[in-house]
């Protein structure tokens, strides 16, 4: 074989390691890791630090695997949306088949290893989460109904429940409340995003609420869900995972979040376009802080309980 027969151009699929890592949606993974970590530490059962570390790692890998399967299935719509066009598959760095193989392999790995390291309830919940995100949300609902975000949000809400189950081996009111917190937070978070990236979803023909029911209706939906979320978030302060610090954080952030939702509700498209959706973008940024601060406060309350500071 002569040198001339060796291919010297970069083939499709000659990806760097970082391209494969990008398939796992690292930014989404931070949310998964953090909420699972809080669920694990808020549980009233002590877990060996190394097993706890492994549990979080396997939950993160499972979340990443579902991200890879999501990118495999959604490569066609990712290619037409500006926000997602640079993802590894539409950018031509990784092939769809590679993403599928990585997604399936990491799913199986994470479920089996979480089961072996902790218990099979936690592993079952992780398996259900991957199934829910990939099959129920990505393959079925995302392109079918404008309620895609509401129902699909459940997949992102499972990690604290899995963390809790990894430590205790069961499901409790507290872990369901943490699930509900993320579940109710997801719709206003994504609908605010949909308001200022409208053209993307239009081009991809994804039936976002903004596309199917109009932007006025989306603003109403954001307000209604934010009110329901505020009731849930503040109510959680009076349960076993709440406490004075959580309640203080919840009161401040929910007041700000309600104000943001009210401002979005009062605006029309002319006002939004005049300041380039400043209020909607501010609400979206606040929503990120909102979730991290609530779970951070739950973590602090769990630490206080362990140390017996207020005992």
């Amino acid at each position: 074989m002569s040198d001339a027969s060796i291919q010297t151009t970069i083939r499709h699929g000659e990806a760097e390691f970082g391209d494969y890592f990008a398939l796992l949606k690292p930014r989404v993974m931070t949310l998964v890791v953090f909420t699972a970590f809080v669920g694990l530490l808020a549980a009233p059962v002590a877990i060996h630090p190394f097993i706890g570390f492994c549990a979080i790692l396997f939950i993160a890998v499972g979340g990443g695997a579902s991200g890879a399967l999501n990118m495999w299935w959604d490569a066609d719509i990712d290619a037409v949306m500006r926000r997602t066009a640079k993802r590894p598959i539409p950018a031509g760095k990784v092939t769809g088949d590679e993403a599928l193989a990585i997604g399936v392999a990491l799913s199986a790995f994470s479920i089996i290893f979480l089961g072996l390291a902790t218990n099979w309830l936690a592993a079952g919940l992780l398996a259900f989460t991957i199934f829910f995100y990939v099959v129920i949300y990505t393959m079925w609902l995302k392109r079918l109904t404008p309620q895609n975000i509401v129902i699909g949000g459940a997949a992102g809400a499972f990690p604290p429940m899995i963390g809790w189950a990894a430590a205790t081996g069961d499901i409790s009111v507290a872990s369901v409340l943490m699930f509900c917190l993320t579940f109710m937070w997801t719709p206003p978070h994504f609908w605010a995003l949909a308001l200022f990236v409208r053209m993307d979803y239009d081009n991809a023909t994804v039936p976002m609420l903004t596309v199917t029911h109009g932007r006025r209706s989306t603003r109403v939906h954001i307000l209604v869900y934010t009110v329901l979320l505020a009731i849930l978030a503040i109510g959680t302060g009076f349960t076993a995972i709440g406490g004075p610090i959580y309640l203080a954080v919840a009161l401040v952030l929910n007041a700000l979040f309600l104000k943001g939702a009210w401002d979005i509700y009062r605006r029309n498209e002319e006002m939004a376009e005049a300041d380039n959706f400043a209020v909607e973008k501010k609400f979206f940024k606040l929503s990120l802080l909102y979730l991290f601060a609530h779970f951070g406060a739950i973590l602090i309350e769990a630490g206080i309980d362990r140390l017996g500071v207020f005992a």
Binding site: D3, F50, F113
Partner: protein
């Protein structure tokens, strides 16, 4: 057209191989660590020779 030593293709493959190597080393460390923790936990019990022979 010949392949130079510093071709982009080599860099990508080298980076990928390094990444896979690190992942495999981490996997070995995790399995080893988990085994040590599980075996040294209070709940861990070995089957006696009689139990093994009786098929329990």
């Amino acid at each position: 057209m010949s392949l130079s030593r510093q071709h982009e293709l080599h860099k990508r493959r080298a980076g990928r191989n390094k990444g896979v190597g690190i992942v495999l080393a981490a996997l070995i460390a995790i399995v080893f660590g988990l085994t040590v923790v599980k075996v040294s936990s209070d709940n861990f019990t070995m089957q006696s020779a009689n139990e093994v022979n009786n098929g329990n």
